[in-house]
């Protein structure tokens, strides 16, 4: 048993972090926000070139993808990253891997289906229990929302979603959901870590009553709670990645993925709001990125089922013997 990243995994993580610091520094992300919130084709091509979408085809596993998506979440990179990554693997949509095809995903809901980044999509995949359905974005009639919750996640309200053309069956849909949950949880973990860095930096530098606010226990304990939630989430997220790769002594993939999505989802919301709290009045401004982390956490919580949904599902599995992790 070994839970430590090896040199290759560290190299992958560090390499991607350094790429993102160069290509997607927070200033660049804010510029994307000013330009409407969706990444440009050039951005997408850069992400493709580094291998974000083709990772799995190149022989890497879910754990490797988890490390990559943690960094994407940390850097607040916008766009349908998980959907395009999944579309480059199974079933293969031509162009998804090299970034020429921007693929989005949506689960239908009533009375309205909220589609993200619609204007930039080449293909919209509708994820249903009975399969994946491809919809041409130009055929989707909807109302572009003027003020999306997250300015980096533009949304369109769709009241009549086309059925689309079935491209995969229930098994692939279930696999997408499972992978999607884990990769989203990795991005949520990244949001936690970015929120902690930002809050820590501010707590060290901001002075009141003649000393840094980070020296007050009341503030320290907020930061300690952020780190605690993030590290518990990290264990759950990495463990889920390893479980999906078949390198853990457990067979309940669903529960492993649910645990990751619940823990990372709740942690990202907690870290985001606590980062705002640590910043005081500044935390409530548009200028400070704390709001961006919290808002993205709100968006990602809705992807592939929110934490409440999965907590209920986890409970149901308790009584149907669907859990195989040790004594649980």
């Amino acid at each position: 048993m070994d839970f430590e990243l090896n040199d290759d995994e560290r190299a992958l993580q560090a390499g991607l972090r350094s790429f993102l610091q160069g290509r997607f520094p927070i200033d660049a992300v804010r510029s994307i926000e000013d330009a409407g919130g969706s990444p440009s084709r050039a951005h997408w091509a850069a992400l493709a070139e580094v291998g974000v979408f083709s990772l799995r085809r190149d022989g890497f596993g879910c754990t490797d993808a988890v490390l990559a998506f943690e960094e994407l979440g940390r850097a607040l990179v916008p766009g349908p990253l998980v959907a395009s990554h999944l579309a480059a693997s199974v079933p293969v949509l031509d162009g998804a891997a090299d970034g020429t095809l921007v693929v989005g995903i949506v689960e239908p809901s009533q009375p309205v289906t909220m589609v993200e980044h619609l204007d930039t999509l080449d293909t919209l995949i509708v994820l249903r229990d009975d399969g994946l359905f491809a919809v041409s974005p130009s055929s989707v009639q909807g109302t572009a929302i003027e003020r999306p919750l997250d300015a980096l996640t533009p949304v369109t309200a769709v009241f009549d979603l086309p059925d689309g053309e079935q491209i995969a069956g229930p098994d692939v849909a279930a696999a997408w959901r499972l992978d999607g949950m884990v990769l989203t949880s990795a991005m949520q973990l990244g949001l936690c870590l970015a929120s902690i860095d930002l809050a820590r930096e501010y707590a060290m530098q901001r002075e009141q009553f003649g000393r840094p606010i980070g020296s007050f226990q009341a503030v320290k304990h907020l930061l300690a709670d952020m780190l605690t939630r993030a590290e518990v989430a990290r264990a759950a997220v990495y463990s889920a990645g390893v479980t999906l790769d078949g390198r853990a002594d457990r067979s309940d993939l669903q529960q492993a993925a649910r645990t990751a999505k619940i823990m990372a989802g709740d942690a990202a919301l907690f870290c985001g709001k606590t980062c705002i709290q640590v910043h005081g009045g500044m935390g409530f401004t548009w200028e400070v990125d704390a709001q961006r982390y919290w808002k993205r956490a709100c968006v990602l919580d809705t992807h592939f089922g929110n934490s409440d949904h999965h907590a209920s599902a986890f409970a149901d599995a308790l009584t149907t013997g669907g859990i195989t992790n040790g004594h649980l």
Partner: protein, 422 residues
């Protein structure tokens, strides 16, 4: 800078190219190795053979009988080669890796083997300290007796005036010839009324900064001038004692380390933690959590079961997911200890999260039991004892071995590097 992540970029990927093997090379791997499986199977077989023949557990208030029960189990472990499973081989232990220690704790819990009980301080605290700091004679005398279950140890660290601020302890030891003469009081001394020896921190120099005037002593129990008074906890039981010292003479030869170097000796002990401290607890909590779902279906009020309450059900699901995550964190901590010899930040993080979660789980159990929670004892076939006692026990988790507030200070200052507020 453009970094293309391709197969050729990493050693694992190269392996994939050259061997065409699946992705099982290196990196995070939570499966047991063949050696670990072998250790587990051997232990499992031994447990299956001995557990059915164990005597009945002693009554909770019959301390002499409980001592006999705990030490008899320790002797069985010793005879089978499982005593001090994580102690180094040269001192009579099995030299198990942290992962093997985890397996030991998992398997003993699974087999419902007796707990470490009164052997706790000797095996997990005093023993490791002696291994690190004691003289050859001290080791030769004490270590085998701990492993064989012949000596029970207790701990005399905390005092009424020295809790979170342990270094401010004031129990005085004056040097008089070849003896120390101890006067003062200790508190929270688990098993003080059944122990043979006490690992003790005493004030040997009151005129220097507090950390520099402390000495670590082995104190035999039952000496003249010593008064042990059981301390009843909110559970109604008396695991803890207060110990009063009135000019108790202890040979200076019982000192571990140098005079006034006791704080360092005590801190060395803390570094022995390998991430396994809460494994048995965690396993019990996971089992209670699963039982809770079944229990919630059985207990009804006005014809409606607790399980029919979607909110309660979701809360239970969330608590179970968190236990699942903390189990992953436990493995991560143990892995790190196996690699580096230290748990590091993960230990503080785990304790903070677990103390909070265990309370929440306890609250849920009380809600599920509803009126049945008014009994600490089992009611017929209802397993109220485990849940209600567990709920009460959970209140101690954020207090014992460093309060959650102290843990948060440690996380904030040592891990996040925030300024000290002193």
């Amino acid at each position: 800078m453009v970094l293309r992540i391709t197969r050729a970029d990493t050693r694992r990927a190269e392996f994939l190219v050259s061997d065409g093997a699946s992705d099982t090379v290196g990196g995070v791997d939570l499966q047991l190795t063949d050696a670990e499986r072998g250790f587990r199977d051997e232990l499992r077989a031994w447990l299956a053979g001995v557990i059915p023949g164990l005597p009945a557990e002693a009554h909770r208030n019959d301390w002499p009988a409980r001592r006999k029960y705990d030490t008899a189990w320790q002797r069985m472990l010793f005879d089978a080669g499982y005593a001090g499973v994580n102690w180094p081989r040269e001192f009579g232990g099995r030299g198990a890796t942290p992962t093997e220690h985890l397996i030991f704790l998992e398997e003993t819990e699974h087999a419902r083997a007796p707990y470490v009980g009164q052997n706790f301080v000797g095996l997990l605290h005093a023993g490791p300290t002696l291994i690190a700091e004691a003289s050859a004679e001290q080791k030769a005398f004490h270590l085998p007796a701990i492993l064989r279950g012949e000596h029970i140890w207790c701990q005399g660290f905390s005092e009424p005036g020295a809790g979170s601020d342990l270094a401010s302890l004031s129990c005085r030891a004056m040097r008089d010839g070849d003896d120390y003469v101890i006067t003062g009081q200790k508190i929270w001394t688990s098993f003080g009324h059944t122990a043979d020896y006490c690992e003790m921190l005493v004030r040997t120099d009151p005129d220097v900064p507090k950390h520099r005037g402390i000495t670590w002593l082995i104190v035999p129990m039952g000496l003249a001038g010593m008064d042990v008074r059981p301390l009843r906890t909110m559970e109604g039981s008396t695991e803890f004692c207060e110990v009063f010292f009135d000019e108790v003479r202890v040979p200076a030869a019982n000192r571990i380390g140098a005079e006034n170097d006791g704080w360092r000796v005590a801190m060395v002990t803390l570094s022995f933690e390998r991430g396994t401290a809460f494994v048995s607890e965690m396993l019990q909590s996971m089992e209670l959590a699963r039982d809770l779902a079944a229990l919630a279906k059985r207990i009804t009020r006005n014809g409606v079961s607790a399980w029919d309450d979607a909110g309660l059900r979701r809360d239970i699901g969330r608590a179970c997911a968190e236990l699942d995550a903390l189990w992953a964190l436990t493995k991560r901590n143990i892995s790190q200890a196996q690699r580096t010899g230290l748990v590091g930040a993960g230990g503080n993080v785990f304790k903070l999260a677990y103390a909070e979660l265990r309370q929440r789980l306890g609250d849920l159990a009380m809600h599920v039991l509803d009126r049945a929670s008014l009994s600490i004892d089992d009611i017929g076939e209802l397993p109220t004892h485990a849940h209600v006692k567990g709920r009460i026990h959970a209140l101690s988790l954020g207090i014992a071995a460093g309060t959650s507030q102290v843990q948060r200070n440690i996380v904030a200052e040592r891990i996040l590097g925030l300024p000290k507020d002193r």
